[in-house]
């Protein structure tokens, strides 16, 4: 994204491609196409060309409302443990507790510039929904969030937060009542209200220009981190490690480093309980789309998917709700295809260990999503060079109940005993 200060030619050139190699595109119902094209136009004008000072306002709001820049912190005890320099990009300190606000704030602001009157968004565990509700309240935009019934009932605190920020929460009764159904339903709302409404997609997925636009809003992560590591460690890192669900924190953490060939980019997917697919049940007990998926079209884009041979989308699974998605951003699919990004997986158990490890060693309770990136560090730090940046995409307060339940049924080395209750 160009800022008013950075008038670099390469950056200012408008990127009109709707695809990343063979991935991406705009596979949406005809009724949505005009809105998608209108958004494309707005993206090019406001986000790429800073028309009306959009980018300046966005950056300022990210700073004042969102709490940016976030620190790049050297993790002393992890560095000692792994005998190399580990730096954590602290997206857990963004307002709302995750990188999600970077995107939500950008899109809601853009919707305002576009003259839209209403915001809708899907949410799974509620992170994107709460970020969107916060941004909408901040910018005085009516907001409705679609959330699967199952998720509504199991993520009450996030539902409360959205309601408190003035958003409507619409439970989606269809299917299993989780993220996939919520996205479908948000698309249906959008198909009905497209003239007045902007759909704030929560990751680098969906039809063009969403994947590029969301990436550009999240790119602030790597723009900051790249400057910070150069000033704090004196050089570029050997590797950047980030978890990948849809992939927004991932591309956010990678984007500025993509041209730096010496920097390995590692996308850590949720290995769930197994990488084997349960064909009978149509269930993938993981969300390892980049590592195990096949090409197909979902939610507006050609990308890698967890799907059956027939083309039915599978239920995915991960202990971390935010990674639990059967698709992935088309740009990541492309960068994996070209070899620039290395996809790896970390399973539920190793992510839980990493959650406890960071909490105990560094006094930072990471999101379960981010714990996947940290779990990879534990396993493969020797392959990552001497200077590694890990993106801590969010904080783990939202995950306490899940972690407790999941910890109880396992024998985790790093977990504390929590028997201090009752009597």
């Amino acid at each position: 994204m160009s800022t008013s200060e950075q008038t670099d030619e390469a950056e200012k050139s408008i990127d009109e491609e709707r695809t990343f190699g063979e991935y991406g595109g705009q596979y949406v119902p005809e009724a949505l196409m005009p809105a998608v094209l209108e958004l494309e136009d707005a993206y090019e004008r406001y986000v790429l060309e800073n028309e009306d000072g959009f980018v300046d306002e966005f950056r300022e709001r990210l700073r004042e409302f969102g709490g940016r820049p976030t620190p790049l912190q050297r993790a002393d005890r992890l560095s000692e443990r792994y005998d190399r320099d580990i730096y954590l990009k602290r997206e857990d300190l963004v307002h709302g507790g995750a990188h999600k606000l970077n995107n939500a704030l950008g899109q809601v602001l853009l919707a305002k510039y576009m003259g839209k009157e209403r915001i809708i968004a899907e949410t799974g565990a509620g992170q994107h929904g709460t970020a969107t509700a916060m941004a909408a309240a901040h910018l005085e935009m009516p907001c409705e969030i679609y959330m699967g019934r199952t998720d509504v009932n199991r993520q009450r605190p996030n539902v409360y937060r959205m309601r408190m920020n003035g958003a409507e929460v619409n439970p989606v009764e269809a299917g299993r009542g989780t993220l996939k159904e919520a996205i479908n339903e948000t698309m249906r709302d959008w198909a009905t209200t497209v003239e007045t409404t902007h759909y704030v997609i929560g990751s680098i997925v969906g039809p063009h220009p969403f994947p590029k636009m969301v990436r550009d809003f999240q790119a602030v992560i790597s723009e900051e981190a790249r400057e910070q590591i150069r000033s704090q460690a004196g050089r570029l890192p050997d590797a950047v490690v980030a978890c990948a669900g849809g992939g927004s924190n991932t591309m956010g953490a990678f984007h500025a480093f993509v041209p730096d060939d010496s920097v390995d980019l590692v996308a850590v997917e949720a290995g769930g309980s197994s990488l084997e697919i349960d064909v009978e049940a149509g269930v993938a007990p993981n969300s390892a789309t980049l590592s195990t998926g096949t090409d197909g079209v979902l939610h507006g884009a050609m990308t890698k998917l967890l799907q059956s041979e027939d083309g039915q989308i599978m239920e995915s699974h991960s202990v971390s709700a935010g990674l639990d998605y059967a698709g992935v951003g088309p740009e990541l699919a492309h960068l994996v295809e070209t070899g620039r990004v290395t996809p790896v997986t970390v399973d539920d158990e190793d992510a839980l260990e990493a959650f406890h490890r960071l909490s105990r060693l560094e006094g930072i309770i990471p999101a379960l999503e981010s714990s996947h990136a940290l779990g990879y560090l534990e396993r493969a730090h020797e392959e990552l060079g001497d200077l590694v940046v890990v993106n801590v995409s969010g904080r783990g307060d939202k995950d306490l109940e899940t972690v407790l339940e999941e910890t109880e049924t396992r024998d985790l080395e790093a977990a504390p005993d929590v028997e201090v209750f009752d009597s």
Binding site: L37, R188, T193, E195, D295
Partner: protein
Amino acid sequence: MRADGNGDERGSTDSDVEAAIRENHPALITYVCAGDPSLEATKEYVEALDRGGADLIELGLPFSEPIAEGPTIQASINRALAAGTTPEGFFELVDRLETDAPLLVMTYYNMVLQYGPAADVRPFVERAAEVGLSGIIVPDLPAEEADPLRDACDAHGLDLVFIVAPTTEGDRLEAIMSQASGFVYVQARLGTTGARADVSSATHDGLARLAAYDDIPRAVGFGVSEGDHAAEIVEAGADGVIVGSALVDIVAEHGADGDAPAADALEAKARELKDGAVRGDADGDRAPEPEHP
């Protein structure tokens, strides 16, 4: 098959689909989802619709993420998937079907892509042609992304039917119309499929916007559920009406076993709709001025 731009009049196309509409004008186009409650039942239902007066039959191949459908058709798709409906089962059903009305498959793009070993539309189109399907409708495939599928359809003599929405205007409308074949699916209102109690005012606007393109039949869908709606729509200038949710409601009512009364009810509903359409045709004319400006 699409007019190939060599100067042929569209009227002289060799499209079964277009012919079925023109010859049975005003046409009734019906939709049910294959495999709900079973492929066997679907066979009976389709044949009943054919008897009842359907001039063209859209048969849904169920996809797990039907983003363009309202609750009625979503539920039908879910039942079909739960019953184990597969693309190959679908094609075999089509192969066995004996109907006067030509058949189109309605499905989502990923289903088309995945039929072969790699993500490629051609195996699907080839198989569709082989079992005697006349065309394809893909609600999540806008004209901008349609080149590969249109090429494959052209190669196998299938129509690729495009949807024109209330938001489709100007250059895009023109672009879509230039590659439409079989008929144009006029989406009567914003939103998703689903039976409604009235005819949307957007119907009239939509037909008005298409008035200039009278070399291809225009059929109106999204919300049509009664004979009177059909009459009103045809009166407003449509060449046909498309009915889905109202029929799926009947399928749903009759439950899991797919019984004879369901087939009878479908046949009767088709007749009501076809009668309505014919009534509308007697009252209206074929290229009206917009009534709701």
